[in-house]
């Protein structure tokens, strides 16, 4: 790995900015993601910031089963995110579709639409479980992002 690349990885790990995308979640994962940002769990300790635009984000945090209507739009969000990008599927619905499997409006998990780097199961996962997912992601990036 060249020095420049190593520097880039170091910088990325210092402040992974996230974009939270809801693709049809029931809100419970969303409020747990938000709870991870508030004082009790405070992921800003690790330089993680919630960004409103995909163009500023490094990590896409996707919650919810992908619905037919959202599939097209989530693809666009993924394309708009600058490389290198990582995708975290938070919650059972994002992993596989969860209880919404076989509903006519639902395609399935996020991996049907785009590659996923870390799966965080749970319905909803505790905020600390989400932080554990971030730890896993950082591990993955350092090992060969």
């Amino acid at each position: 790995m060249s020095t420049l690349l190593r520097l880039a990885t170091w910088a990325r790990l210092r402040s992974p900015w996230i974009l939270h995308v809801n693709t049809g979640a029931c809100n419970s994962c969303d409020i747990e993601v938000l709870a991870a940002l508030t004082p009790r769990f405070d992921v800003e300790r690790f330089g993680i910031l919630l960004k409103p635009s995909p163009r500023h984000a490094d990590v896409l945090v996707v919650t919810g089963a992908v619905t037919r209507q959202a599939a097209e739009r989530i693809k666009r969000v993924y394309e708009q995110t600058p490389d290198p990008k990582f995708v975290m599927a938070v919650g059972t619905c994002a992993c596989s579709g969860g209880v919404f499997q076989n509903c006519y409006g639902v395609l399935g998990g996020v991996d049907k639409v785009m590659p996923v780097d870390v799966y965080v199961p749970g319905c909803p996962p505790r905020p600390d479980a989400i932080i554990y997912g971030v730890v896993k992601l950082i591990e993955k990036v350092t090992k060969g992002g």
């Binding site: 037919r68 209507q69 006519y104 409006g105």
Partner: protein, 149 residues
């Protein structure tokens, strides 16, 4: 059945005449079910409006295809002064799914009618905008998710 309910049933019987079919009272849930002809719905809402002086609240419309030849519509109402739960039920045959729109009488029904239209294919005559509400743009025409075969 308390006095208020009896009064409302009497008003329906007098005001709708042939259009009023029957009534039922659910003592456990304290709810009054009124069965009316589909043509008499507008008049029924006017009667309710009269009975409570405009102080009523349309909770929802349920459209149900229970497998027969008819689609059953249930209008849930809450009358504020009487503290009374009223369900007005009407049926429409599948061959001719047409009803009068109630938007002019009760504006709160605007979204519910749109939903019943797209899920079951009931046409509400006189509704200002019966476009798609929930279903995707590429959903085929004349396919209604909640219809039974």
């Amino acid at each position: 059945m308390a006095e208020e309910q009896v009064k409302l049933v009497e008003a329906f019987r007098k005001g709708l005449g042939e259009g009023f079919l029957s009534y039922e009272y659910d003592t456990k849930r304290r709810a009054l079910k009124l069965f009316v002809e589909r043509g008499a719905l507008t008049k029924a809402f006017e009667l309710v409006n009269e009975a409570c002086g405009g102080e009523y609240h349309v909770t929802t419309i349920t459209g149900a295809d229970l497998g027969g030849d008819e689609v059953e519509l249930t209008y849930f109402l809450w009358l504020l002064p009487q503290k009374l739960r009223v369900m007005i039920k009407a049926k429409a045959p599948k061959s001719d799914l047409r009803l009068q729109s109630l938007v002019s009488v009760a504006p709160a029904t605007i979204l519910y009618e749109r939903e019943v239209h797209e899920m079951l294919g009931v046409v509400f005559e006189g509704h200002p905008n019966l476009e798609r509400l929930f279903l995707p743009e590429d959903w085929p025409e004349n396919v209604y998710p909640l219809r039974r075969k």
